[in-house]
């Protein structure tokens, strides 16, 4: 089981470019027709897209699970948060720096909640967002 010693663990930074073709695939998948997202070169990204960019361009998108010895099959997404500080638009190159900031046992150890906080900066060094995910590890087999 993951314990407090995991807090502070940092993982390989991920650099991702906001590519128009990949973004269009995402928009089409969600049935998103809002013209604001298809408005040429300076189009903004949808509010959850930062999460995708990090996974798409990570050499190992599940690195933090492997590093902490967590089985992918036992993981659920518990919470997700985005704080937006500056615009992210098509053409930007973003860097994600994930770090474990919390480990909490729940239900007598049946579940462990792990918080990974990820500051995001752009190609100009601007801190554009903070992304925070909480994953739930199911430590016990479901009955």
């Amino acid at each position: 089981m993951v314990d407090q010693s995991a807090v502070g663990r940092e993982f390989t930074p991920v650099t991702a470019r906001v590519e128009p073709g990949r973004l269009r695939f995402f928009l089409d998948t969600l049935g998103e027709t809002n013209p604001v997202y298809r408005d040429g070169s300076a189009a903004p990204v949808p509010p959850t897209y930062l999460f995708c960019l990090e996974m798409m361009d990570a050499p190992d998108p599940f690195e933090f699970l492997t590093a902490l010895g967590i089985d992918l099959a036992r993981v659920l997404h518990g919470e997700q948060r985005f704080d937006y500080h500056a615009p992210v638009v098509v053409g930007d190159t973003l860097t994600f720096r994930p770090r474990v900031t919390g480990v909490t046992d729940k239900k007598g150890g049946a579940m462990t909640l792990i918080v990974v906080d990820t500051p995001v900066t752009n190609q100009n060094g601007v801190h554009v967002a903070d992304v925070s995910r909480t994953i739930v590890v199911r430590n016990a087999r479901p009955s």
């Binding site: 695939f25 969600l30 509010p47 937006y84």
Partner: protein, 134 residues
């Protein structure tokens, strides 16, 4: 938004078509989340689930779409959710957002929205919040 909202106003409301296996496969590719639990029934069963189920972030993506139908993306200051329950295949989701508070923060007028995503049975899948600049 065409005018300043008031506490209690429901400014976000959107319904989405039922979630299909095809949609989950597309989202797997489009999002970079290749966790097989959402697309491979054998993997899902071995993990103790009766079938594949939707990515939480697909459901949050729908909620984000409902939000930015009402609020232009550059006005969203934060967006967060708790994944309250697994979203099953076939779920037809309704996303809603209601103004709960008007605040001054960061030198601007902002509103706090309470957000929910429910399935066709009214079960809450996501419960969240957004802060938007007015």
């Amino acid at each position: 938004m065409s005018s300043a909202p008031a506490v209690g106003d429901r400014i976000v409301h959107k319904e989405f078509p039922p979630i299909t296996r095809h949609r989950l496969a597309l989202y797997c590719g489009a999002s970079g989340d290749h966790n097989p639990i959402h697309v491979d029934i054998d993997f899902a069963k071995a993990a103790g689930f009766p079938d594949v189920f939707a990515h939480g972030m697909l459901v949050m993506g729908y909620l984000g779409q409902a939000l930015t139908d009402a609020v232009t993306p550059s006005r969203i200051r934060s967006f967060s959710t708790r994944f309250a329950a697994i979203t099953q295949l076939g779920a037809a989701l309704t996303c809603e957002g209601t103004v709960t508070e008007l605040i001054e923060q960061g030198g601007e007028k902002r509103a706090r929205l309470a957000l929910t995503t429910k399935d066709q049975n009214g079960e809450i899948k996501l419960a969240g919040e957004a802060i938007i600049a007015l």
